[in-house]
């Protein structure tokens, strides 16, 4: 007797509306994605910076409380200005901001790899296996499908960006035992969540658009690498070339006089000339750094890099530049620009980066809308 003679039972349960069907797709995508060993390992590794963030915030909380536990660690904090160590509460927001900024910068790199592992298959696999009818012959709309697929990326990136930020924040709060920390830093928590969402939505929609362009996920992965890696290299090369050009021009103006005599037999005139040249050189360097700092405010070259744009928006959301500027006040006036130039990074208007990301977002949405049009375009 064939097995199907066991019979067919009617089902009379309730069907929910399509409002949550995206969640079904997202949950399924996460379940499938989590089966990959490489991804699981990467998710684990990406929590190492989170542990470091938790450690630093907790350390700062203990430092604010002048806890004896941190006394042996003070010898390792000599790179900090003594004023900061003396009054850590005053610099709380700045230190937290910078810690979050470094953490998010690291996680941004990890998130690009996570997207590389998870994203390419999301739509291209459905195209390759003609699985779109499985979705669209059921009560869900195209937007539900897209949101569900995007949800997969957001969930994975949320795990490595937003979740650690939240945990670190609450642990930092617990170790400081000071309720005023909420007043000082709640904006930082919100900013890190918003920034996490910006990364997730931007990278997610972009990789979905790429995924809809090909049935072969390897090509999609290569596209993604191109956008991430190649654009970063191009941005870096443009920036370096520009800086080298200015540096070269400065060095040309600083070539030592031909009559320079560096030996012990140099005359007082020669010595004075030498000293004047060194002073001029020092001044030129200071001017160069000041000029670099000013030039950084209008330097458009990092815009070529996708991650630099994300990073720039993140800096703006977190208020990293303001934090560095406050710490820069502790530096001697002549070294302030150099300090800021070293730590602040690109200073071009954040709105440029936001516009680039918004443009990519719109382009991705258009590609998705065109490529996945219901079943009209299928065989």
């Amino acid at each position: 007797m064939p097995i199907f003679d066991q019979g067919y039972q009617h089902w009379s349960g309730q069907l929910s509306g399509h409002a949550w069907s995206w969640l079904t797709i997202a949950r399924h995508g996460v379940r499938i994605g989590s089966k990959g060993r490489a991804l699981r390992l990467l998710l684990l590794i990406s929590w190492i910076p989170a542990l470091l963030l938790v450690f630093l915030l907790c350390l700062w909380g203990l430092l604010e409380r002048k806890s004896g536990v941190v006394a042996p660690l003070l010898q390792f904090l000599t790179f900090l200005h003594p004023e900061i160590i003396a009054d850590p509460r005053h610099y709380r927001l700045e230190v937290w901001t910078i810690c979050y900024d470094y953490f998010l910068l690291t996680e941004l790199r990890f998130s690009m790899i996570v997207v590389l592992l998870v994203g390419p298959n999301l739509i291209s696999q459905d195209l390759r296996y003609n699985a779109l009818p499985l979705y669209f012959s059921r009560p869900l709309r195209r937007i539900d499908y897209f949101i569900g697929k995007l949800g997969v990326i957001v969930i994975f990136l949320g795990r490595i960006i937003i979740l650690p930020c939240l945990i670190a924040y609450f642990l930092g709060l617990l170790f400081s035992l000071d309720i005023s920390i909420l007043r000082d830093t709640y904006r930082l928590l919100l900013a890190s969540i918003v920034y996490g969402l910006v990364i997730s939505l931007s990278a997610g929609l972009l990789v979905l658009a790429l995924s809809s362009l090909s049935r072969n996920s390897r090509y999609v992965a290569l596209f993604w690498l191109g956008i991430w890696f190649v654009s970063s290299v191009v941005g870096g090369v443009l920036e370096t070339a520009d800086r080298e050009q200015r540096q070269h021009a400065m060095y040309q103006t600083l070539s030592p006089p031909k009559s320079f005599n560096y030996g012990p037999q140099s005359s007082p005139d020669q010595f004075n000339q030498q000293m004047a040249w060194h002073r001029a050189r020092q001044k030129a360097f200071e001017n160069f750094h000041a000029e670099e700092f000013r030039a950084a405010k209008g330097n458009w070259r990092p815009l070529a890099s996708y991650t630099a744009n994300l990073s720039r928006v993140g800096q703006q959301l977190l208020g990293t530049n303001a934090a560095w500027e406050k710490l820069g006040q502790l530096q001697p006036p002549g070294q302030r620009e150099q300090f800021l130039l070293l730590f602040m990074g690109p200073q071009f208007p954040w709105i440029w980066s936001a516009a680039v990301l918004f443009g990519l977002f719109g382009l991705s949405a258009c590609i998705l809308s065109f490529q996945v049009k219901s079943l009209d375009r299928l065989k």
Binding site: P2, I3, F4, Q6, G7, Y8, Q9, H10, W11, S12, G13, L15, S16, G17, H18, S21, T24, I25, H28, I32, K35, Q125, D126, Y129, N130, A131, L132, P133, L134, Y135, F136, S137, R138, P139, L140, R141, S374, L375, D376, L378, K379
Partner: protein
């Protein structure tokens, strides 16, 4: 009424897939017949609201397929022609996922998934990855995914394509059981006439995007009062010759003699001729049209 189309036209560029199609189909097991490119798949997609139509209107299970697509898909199960199974999931997981996409909660979907997999005969293979399934198993898995939410109408697009005879029989038996014993209406699209004949009671024949004919299979395979099939004990050639002399049209097909009697005579003449030639008629019955003949005639008209 299961579904009806009123003047539906759908064009893909210069190609007219459905050409002012009007048809009303009763509930039951419906066969959708037609040669390749006749508009069967487009008709199914229009029914499910998967494609916008250019002109006309229609409804399925009392719902307008131009406006109530999501409601329609809630009560209809669809197994497409293409494989549409993505790898790295187990059979039971795949079917449960299909149920969740319709709107079942996860627990119900998983429980129901086990039930329907048992029903389609994949109980033993439920924990195998779908990429390891044979073609027949994949078809049954698609069927299970389509019926997981117990739809009122099951639409199957070429479900026996590429299957071996045993697998084909299993699918036909399952679909016949669903349509005739489980109260589920069925729209079975195929260009394989025996499949349609095995499963369906009613047939809609499309050609060039137009309705060629429709009706119950019993009606279409009408009895011909003046055409007979007969078998003799002895030599049929002389018998056929004498009938021809009397104005009959005869055709010898294997050991069967097909005879068409002129209007001026009745079937009595067959007995009379047999008596004259001292032949024994061992088999005699009025000729019926086969579905194949109906199909070919209708297609010839276009």
């Amino acid at each position: 009424m299961l579904f009806q189309f009123e003047g539906v036209t759908k064009k893909y560029g210069a190609v007219t897939a459905l050409d002012n199609l009007s048809v009303a189909v009763p509930t039951g097991a419906i066969g959708l017949l037609g040669p390749n490119g006749s508009g069967k798949t487009t008709m199914i997609r229009a029914l499910l609201g998967l494609i916008p139509i250019d002109k006309g209107s229609g409804e399925i299970l009392g719902m307008d397929f131009n406006r109530q697509q999501l409601d329609i898909r809630r009560v209809v199960g669809f197994a497409p022609e293409n494989e549409c199974l993505f790898p790295r999931v187990e059979g039971v997981e795949f079917v449960a996922y299909a149920g969740e996409l319709v709107g079942m909660n996860a627990k119900d979907a998983l429980q129901r998934s086990h039930e329907v997999l048992d029903y389609v005969g994949l109980g033993e293979a439920r924990y195998r990855k779908v990429e390891s399934y044979s073609t027949g198993m994949k078809q049954r898995l698609k069927l299970a995914s389509a019926i997981i939410h117990d739809p009122k109408l099951l639409i199957l697009d070429e479900p026996t394509n590429g299957m071996d005879p045993a697998g084909r029989d299993e699918i036909l038996e399952l679909t016949r059981d669903l349509a005739h014993n489980k109260g589920m209406s069925l729209l079975f699209s195929s260009h394989l006439l025996p499949d349609i004949e095995t499963v369906c009671d009613y047939v809609v024949l499309l050609g060039g995007g137009k309705l060629l004919t429709e009706g119950s299979i019993q009606q279409l395979k009408q009895v011909h009062n003046r055409s007979f099939e007969l078998r003799l004990k002895g030599d049929s050639t002389a018998f056929a010759q004498q009938l021809s002399n009397l104005g009959c049209t005869t055709e010898l097909r294997d050991d069967l003699l097909l005879v068409q009697i002129p209007d001026s005579h009745s079937s009595q003449m067959l007995w009379e001729v047999a008596a004259q030639q001292q032949q024994q008629i061992r088999y005699l019955r009025p000729q019926r049209s086969t579905l194949e003949e109906v199909f070919l005639k209708a297609v010839e008209k276009t």
